[in-house]
């Protein structure tokens, strides 16, 4: 690595799979990673031989979600950079601001950009100006119930009321008829106030039966923005993604090109720096409509890495250190088809009941010379703690065609051995074998091929 200096020590303000992923990137860059850990994660295999600082007890509010514990731990362990990973504090502008105040480089965009994208309607207006298509709805937040009625009548039913400061599905209410609007509006306000301390609500047309498509963006401090293609994450359960693939098997080339270019312009227009993802709804007419931007790297980023050959985690750390992106758009070639399956410690046959416990056996599949990749923080003997999400590992495959990628994934999952806890592998095998998934006829409402007939 030439050019600006890198970081000597980087603090990992996260746990589990993403913490292990950040550490691998640090190893590549010659940076010493320091892990902030909770009591529940002490002794986990990914911490072996690593430096760590105990933040507090297993409960996230007293460890991974406590801003001052995290930043103080980074400071006293002499780290000059902090990586938030995903989840936890990764989209909290206060963490970026606190790092800045204490002379620690936050690996991500500025606090101001995070705050802008966290407020839904200003973010949508900024994206619209850059040429992205929005979901029809109200102009900004709604002043009162009369304004809600007026906006709903103009837009057409069904409509969805959403919290301005929302996320995670809370503060959302549907109205399918005129007489439901006032109740839905007031309920959304009440829930938004309780959940986010902000009563403001806006409205969008409810588009049912669409697909979830997102665009991976990388930007440096010199104003260069590069897209790394799209990912189709339509196989979901309760807004939790299960399978992600790239390219989207149903997106028309012209709509892809138009939206990729607009997304790059939009990211540049707000001064975005680092890794980010714009999420879209692909409607039944084939149009990509902007929903929101995640100001961080995402769980499913390996899908884009497999197609581009780039290491996005390494790129985002280098960019934070002041380097230019290592590739220009014309060099970011996307090849073949990639699929990722998230393997969770959940029992899909029991309503996805979480299964904490001990992994008595954990054996990787044949990696087929790099065409199969497994990202994980677990090993045989690992105890899945009950405090956190249930992700055990991600299996990612790459092949020339979608059909070959599906076959490769089925081979990999069939040969993987995980014992001691139930996992979502049976679900993935059923989905991959289904005609519905094979022909890409599914949408976000239902998991294709599950439950098995």
């Amino acid at each position: 690595m030439t050019g600006p200096a890198s970081f000597h020590r980087l603090f990992i303000a996260n746990r589990g799979e993403v913490a292990a992923r950040i550490a691998r990137a640090c190893d590549k860059l010659g940076i010493v990673p320091v892990f902030g850990v909770s009591e529940a994660d002490r002794g986990a295999p990914y911490l072996e031989g690593r430096e760590s600082v105990l933040l507090g007890p297993g409960r996230s509010a007293l460890s991974y979600l406590d801003l001052t514990r995290v930043v103080q731990a980074a400071k006293q362990s002499r780290c000059s950079a902090l990586h938030p990973g995903w989840g936890f504090l990764s989209e909290n502008p206060a963490l970026a601001a606190l790092c800045e105040q204490h002379g620690i480089t936050f690996v991500g965009p500025s606090a101001a950009v995070m705050a802008l994208m966290g407020r839904k309607t200003p973010a949508k207006q900024a994206m619209k100006r850059a040429g992205l298509t929005l979901i029809p709805g109200s102009d900004g937040v709604l002043a009162d119930a009369d304004a809600a009625v007026e906006a709903a009548e103009r837009t057409g039913y069904p409509v969805l009321f959403k919290a301005e400061s929302g996320g995670g599905g809370r503060g959302m209410r549907i109205a399918r008829r005129a007489e439901e609007v006032r109740t839905a509006f007031e309920d959304a306000r009440a829930e938004a106030t309780a959940a986010f301390g902000d009563p403001r609500v806006y409205m969008e047309k409810l588009l049912e039966g669409g697909r979830h498509v997102e665009i991976q963006l990388m930007a440096d401090r010199f104003g260069q923005v590069v897209h790394v293609g799209e990912r189709d994450c339509t196989v979901q359960r309760n807004h939790q993604k299960l399978i992600e693939e790239s390219p989207s098997p149903v997106l028309a080339p012209a709509e892809r090109e138009r939206t990729l270019e607009a997304a790059v312009r939009a990211a540049a227009s707000i001064g975005y720096v680092g890794a980010g993802t714009m999420e879209f709804l692909l409607d039944e007419g084939g149009t990509l409509r902007y929903m929101e931007m995640n100001t961080r790297l995402q769980v499913e980023h390996p899908v884009s890495e497999m197609r581009s050959g780039l290491d996005l985690m390494v790129e985002m750390i280098r960019v934070a250190a002041g380097h230019r992106l290592s590739v220009a758009q014309q060099d970011a070639q996307l090849r073949g088809h990639a699929i990722e399956c998230r393997i969770n410690a959940e029992d899909p046959s029991q309503g996805f009941k979480p299964c904490p416990g001990t992994l008595t056996r954990f054996e990787l599949p044949d990696l087929e010379g790099g065409a199969v990749r497994v990202d994980t923080h677990v090993a045989s003997g690992y105890v899945v703690p009950p405090f956190y999400d249930s992700l055990l590992c991600k299996v990612i495959v790459h092949a020339d065609t979608r059909e070959d990628a599906i076959a490769r994934m089925r081979r990999a999952l069939s040969s993987m051995v995980i014992e001691g806890v139930e996992t979502t592998i049976p679900l993935h095998l059923a989905v991959l074998a289904s005609d519905e998934f094979g022909a890409s006829r599914h949408d976000t409402r239902r998991i294709p091929g599950w439950p098995p007939a």
Partner: protein, 208 residues
Amino acid sequence: MSAHDGRRHAQELVLNVRHEGGHSTLMAPRPGLYRGAPAPDTVLAPGMIAGELEVLGVRFRLLVPHGAHGAVLAVGHEPGSGTKARRLARRPVAAGDALVVLDPARQAGASSGALAESAQGDAAGLAFRAPMGGRYYARPSPQAAAFVEVGDILEAGRTIALLEVMKTFHRVQYGGSAMPERARVLAIVPRDGDDVGASDALLRLEPA
């Protein structure tokens, strides 16, 4: 944070405790920079201060939790441990790091600890002494009533003064296993705003 007269009060954190091998180990509740460890043989009881933790530039007094008491054991094999210089230096600690080990078998009277000693009083009888040097304030703000008047009966936890140390205000509370549970104030020694040294007498008392 700031009172209307601009005084900043020190904030507090309660230490975590683990009992094992007949000793009680006081542990840091969160990451921070630790300083001001009590000297060996000091007798500590719940609510008393066992040092300070600096978290992002804010200093928290570390309080001994309920169920922990006894004399501070010298932490062995660390060069210079227990020296004044070491006690004043800040060192980074993580949540759960052991800061102070107490021997519950050694209480007031059984040791020659600083606090026990200070409670022996002098020729004038029982005295409550300053836990650290600083500027003494008898009232929370210039217009407010004094914390303590002559004749008051004190019980553990009662605030008796503020000490300003390096621009930070520390609440001085009556208590400690070396002091009587209840005591009557016979005299208040410093005047409001006086500079006092560590272990200078603040109050002359008699058991009540």
